[in-house]
């Protein structure tokens, strides 16, 4: 049964606008509806992935032929990242059941919209379409970031709005330049007819697209908004940011680098940007006192590693980068959910006031699995991505950069170990037990991390299609 990929986008959009009607009928059922939609969407994504593995699917919407019409080009990697985003969204939606601040309707609508935007960005084959979904994601993200309506929420959202809108405008400039020169917006088409562009304007177009999506992908000079936004946003939202909007952003960046502007002499600059992101992310995370800020900076560090992996450009390192996207989405979502519970249980978000919070095994074990996976310890999924990126780096001979990266990751291990020390210290302080909506997502994420860690074969098979992706394919 041929499932149209467009359903993946249409379903959340449809339900997003259906929710107000359902809320008229009864408030309580809202969260179960959202969970149902997201679950169904995840299953759909899985089916799309199975088919995409056989051959990239082209789905023309409303009959317009390329290069004019909107076309969805779903490659195996795009489908894989879509599946990751949807699974993460579903599990986080379980955790959103704990959000109690009043206008829940708005919260659920925005979460469906951000899911739709992120999935769209990943699946679309058309540049303008990519920009549209980027806008949808960003706007939904602005709304969700300021959902708490407190000073920190507004401040974070404000910074995100400023940086996000500058980023989107850069993307618009880039698209305009490309459209002016090539008269087409279909990515495959652009990739084939790149030669006709005048080299200088090609650079300007690439840089503006690169910077535009860089904001979403938390690259070094552009990620100043990340800590405040993640800190101000409600806990499930920061988990969503880490696993959904960041992933779609980095995927778009990968697409920009490889499919649209597949030229290699610029890549070493991307690697430098990646290593700078890692360096600043890890180092500033070390001096943080607040747990969500620490996780935000650590997520910047992980994203920097993925950018570095893309920048290195060999098949191995790009496979590593994609695997790292998958592991970072799972791991970081788990940590943010755990952080959310800890802030709620300890009453404060300062780490040194949370002595002994991890002693309850329900929270302790998933927390440990998450941290070990983020650190890159073997039987968990965090290891394979990091290892492949490093080996790719060695293949290209980037010794110094790899050494700097290893030093930065020692700093990362240092601050995570410090956090574990605080979390597992003996203390007579009693913490309220987590309810089902908290430890259920933690356990699901932990199972995914361990399962695919011990037996990563299916993910490896998906990633074997990277070679096609690199050559400008889907």
């Amino acid at each position: 049964m041929m499932v149209q990929p467009v359903l993946l986008i249409a379903l959340p959009l449809f339900f997003a606008f259906l929710l107000p009607l359902i809320s008229l009928w009864s408030k309580k059922v809202l969260k179960y509806v959202v969970m149902g939609v997201m679950a169904f969407n995840a299953i759909l994504a899985f089916i799309v992935l199975i088919e995409a593995l056989k051959a990239p699917i082209f789905d023309i919407i409303a009959g317009f032929q390329p290069p004019l019409g909107i076309v969805l080009m779903v490659g195996p990697l795009g489908a894989f990242i879509a599946l990751v985003i949807n699974v993460a969204a579903f599990v986080i939606s379980l955790y959103s059941a704990t959000v109690t601040k009043e206008p829940l309707l708005k919260y659920y609508m925005l979460s469906l919209l951000i899911l739709m935007g992120a999935t769209g960005m990943v699946l679309t084959g058309d540049l303008f379409n990519l920009f549209v979904f980027l806008e949808v994601t960003s706007i939904a993200a602005y709304g969700l970031a300021s959902y708490n309506k407190d000073r920190k929420g507004f401040e974070g959202a404000l910074k995100y709005v400023i940086m996000g809108s500058i980023g989107s405008s850069f993307v618009l400039i880039g698209i305009a330049i490309i459209y002016a020169q090539l008269r087409t917006l279909n990515m495959l088409d652009i990739a084939t007819r790149l030669g006709e562009m005048d080299p200088y304007t090609k650079i300007v177009a690439f840089v503006s697209l690169f910077l535009g999506f860089g904001v979403e992908a938390e690259m070094f000079p552009l990620n100043a908004w990340v800590p405040e936004t993640y800190d101000g946003a409600p806990h499930p939202v920061s988990a969503m940011f880490a696993s959904m909007s960041a992933k779609s952003g980095i995927f778009a960046l990968a697409r920009v680098i490889f499919t649209i502007f597949a030229f290699s002499n610029y890549l070493w600059f991307v690697v430098i940007m990646g290593i700078l992101t890692v360096f600043f992310g890890e180092i500033i995370a070390y001096v943080q006192k607040n747990i969500k800020r620490m996780l935000a900076y650590s997520s910047i560090g992980q994203m920097g590693m993925i950018i570095m992996g893309l920048g290195i450009g060999t098949v191995l390192s790009v496979q590593g980068a994609f695997f790292q996207m998958f592991s970072h989405a799972m791991g970081k979502a788990l940590l943010f959910i755990a952080a959310g519970y800890m802030i709620y249980a300890a009453g404060t978000d300062r780490m040194d006031k949370m002595k002994g919070i991890g002693r309850n095994p329900l929270i302790g074990i998933p927390l440990l699995i998450g941290i070990l996976s983020i650190m890159g310890m073997p039987p968990f999924i965090g290891f394979y991505g990091k290892f492949y990126i490093l080996m790719g780096g060695f293949q290209q001979g980037y010794y110094a950069i790899i050494a700097l990266f290893l030093a930065a990751s020692i700093v990362e291990v240092a601050y995570y170990a410090r956090f574990i020390k605080i979390a597992f210290e003996k203390s007579e302080r009693k913490y309220p037990a987590p309810n089902i909506w908290v430890y259920a997502p933690l356990i699901i994420f932990a199972i995914i991390i361990v399962l695919f860690g011990i037996y990563p074969k299916p993910v490896m098979d998906i990633l074997s299609h990277v070679a096609a992706f690199l050559a400008g394919g889907a």
Binding site: Y200, F383, M391
Partner: protein, 603 residues
């Protein structure tokens, strides 16, 4: 278990066991002991075989079981089994995760030993190190954090080594290392040996050991006895199996010893000396054993560095002895801590009268550590000395000899402080250690006795390893062993010692002796009141005063100052994020400009 073969028995069984053991809440440790017994028993049919197998779990892991792996695995699995057997009464709370983590560490260790490609080596190495981290975490977060920092440092050294191999050969296999230039080999070997050296606690990188060895004693016995041998195995494989003698000699030789190995031998000798000197002045029993372990591993490092067949054989044999007598010492210490709950040597005293079996086991371990000929500890030290003296190394040999004399000092400090001297009032009713503990200690004592009488067996195993590494086999017969400048026969020595012991026994048995209570003692006529007359407090004070100017400096504090310097730097960098959106917008503008300029400049 033919489906997965050696991978199944030695890696999967402990892993599955760790999950099952977690389910048995209170009896987890006992169940774990059973699971740990499986690999050690399953080892015997694999003697002198060369089974290999490739497992594909998404990444290819090729594992083989050859004499070298068999030898180290024999050591490791028996240690794990006896540590778990010892732990049954010792661990009172949270048995579940103790059993799980020990089995995960064992699986990781077996994996490292069987790995024949760098990827699987790294996977199992890291598995073993984070399992150890969590086991230390059970005791104290700060110690665990220091251990993990050094564990990760060692892992990243190894990654650098693997990376360079991958850069030159494009594959992870050990055997596929042809066509690497000498400069490449230098960096690969340097990083690998440093990486494995961290786990063997070589002096500049030893700072984690005294902290890590303060965790629960049964685990520490397995950690210091077994897991530090992974470092030895790693260096052995890196220098002699992956690189091979020809490449080592390629670096130029200094009287037959490769110029790459000699500095490590010197470093090992310095480690032996510093480890022993620091061990003499420790009052905490666990810290003393930790520093003594660093010292003994220094000897192994010397043997590995020198690289002649006698030195390498000595190193492997000393690693074997060290595994058994050090974990026996830690188990003995664990039994004492279990019964008295005290860590400081000066607070215990006279426990030998109340815990005779523990005392005998620890005494035998001390004899092995000091290298007394009636134990096999002597043979390995003898081989290392002969190797160093035969090659006329004038800096390594004295350091090693003085370190072994220093070993006597801290050995006696343990014996006198803990087991002899005055039995204090509160330890009046201390009972002997429970049965499983004594059984575990007995298992560890057996090889030290057997191989001291019949060294031929184990020297045969070691010769097989040396031959597989391309070196000459050792010269040995069942009871004696030879070196270019001397020999020693154990059987004759044992017989002579027995006969002379009987002679002194005859003289001794002439008169019966009346047993007297410990307080009926000559104290210049005064009645010995209950004041603590135990002379173990600040035992080597005169020596400490003479060494005071040297002891001032501590590598540990140097590390702390060094890391403090970096943290200050991080605080400066943090100021870059100025919480002010206008700056962020400015950053984007500047970034755009730089990117475009770089792009154009690149064209």
């Amino acid at each position: 278990m033919e489906i997965l073969g050696i991978f199944g028995i030695f890696v999967l069984v402990p892993l599955i066991g760790s999950v099952i053991a977690y389910l048995f809440r209170k009896y987890a440790v006992a169940v774990a002991a059973i699971f740990a017994a499986v690999p050690s028993i399953a080892l015997y049919p694999f003697y002198d075989t060369n089974v290999s197998r490739i497992i594909n779990i998404g990444v290819k892991l090729n594992l083989t079981l050859d004499p070298t792996t068999w030898f180290f695995m024999l050591m490791l699995d028996t240690l794990a089994f006896s540590a778990l057997l010892f732990a049954i009464p010792y661990i009172k709370k949270a048995q579940g995760n103790f059993a799980t983590l020990i089995l995960v560490a064992l699986a990781g260790a077996n994996g490292v030993l069987m790995a024949r490609d760098f990827l699987s080596l790294y996977i199992f190495w890291e598995m073993m190190s984070w399992a150890t981290y969590l086991l230390i975490l059970r005791k104290s977060g700060e110690y665990a954090r220091r251990y993990l920092l050094f564990g990760v440092l060692s892992a990243y050294f190894i990654i650098m080594g693997i990376g360079i191999v991958y850069y030159y050969t494009g594959s992870f296999l050990y055997s596929a290392t042809t066509g690497i230039p000498m400069s490449g080999w230098f960096w690969i070997l340097l990083f690998l040996v440093l990486g494995f050296g961290v786990k063997m606690a070589v002096v500049p990188l030893h700072v984690w050991a005294p902290y890590a060895y303060c965790a629960e004693q049964p685990f520490v016995a397995f950690l210091s006895g077994g897991l530090s041998k992974l470092g030895t195995f790693g260096i052995l494989m890196a220098m002699y199996s992956i690189a091979g003698i020809s490449i080592l000699q390629g670096f130029g030789t200094f009287r037959g010893v490769s110029l790459f190995g000699y500095p490590f031998a010197l470093l090992g000798a310095i480690t032996a000396f510093i480890g022993t000197v620091l061990a003499i002045f420790q009052d905490d029993l666990r810290k003393l054993l930790a520093y003594s372990s660093i010292g003994q591993l220094g000897y192994v490092m010397v043997g590995l560095g020198l690289g002649t067949s006698l030195a390498l054989g000595g190193a492997i044999f000393h690693a074997f002895n060290h595994a058994f007598f050090k974990s026996l010492l830690f188990l003995g210490a664990g039994a004492v801590i279990y019964r008295t709950g005290k860590y400081k040597i000066s607070e215990m005293g006279g426990l030998g009268y109340k815990m005779p079996f523990t005392f005998l086991f620890v005494l035998f371990a001390i004899f092995a550590l000091a290298g007394i000929p009636i134990t096999s500890g002597f043979i390995s030290k003898w081989m290392l000395y002969e190797a160093a003296i035969a090659k006329k190394f004038v800096f390594i040999a004295p350091l090693m000899l003085i370190a072994s004399v220093g070993a006597f000092l801290y050995c006696f400090r343990i014996l006198y402080g803990v087991f002899l001297g005055q039995l204090s009032e509160e330890h009046k009713d201390v009972k002997e250690a429970p049965a499983p503990m004594l059984a575990a200690m007995f298992i560890l004592m057996l090889p030290l006795v057997i191989f001291s009488i019949v060294p031929g067996w184990i020297l045969g195993w070691i010769s097989k390893i040396l031959v597989s590494m391309g070196l000459k086999p050792l010269e040995y017969s069942t009871f004696a062993y030879y070196s270019p400048i001397g020999n020693a026969n154990m059987l004759i020595m044992w017989i002579a010692f027995m006969l002379l012991f009987m002679v002194s026994m005859i003289i001794f048995m002439m008169k019966k002796a009346r047993v007297v209570d410990q307080l009926d003692n000559y104290l210049a006529g005064e009645a010995p009141t209950q004041v603590q007359l135990h002379a173990a407090h600040n035992f080597y004070k005169p020596l400490k005063d003479t060494w005071a100017p040297v002891l001032k400096y501590s590598i540990n504090r140097a590390y702390e100052k060094f890391s403090q310097f970096f943290v200050e730097g991080f605080k400066e960098i943090r100021k870059m994020y100025t919480e002010n959106p206008q700056d962020y917008a400015a950053y984007m503008g500047i970034a755009f400009l730089i990117f475009v300029l770089v792009g154009w400049w690149l064209l």
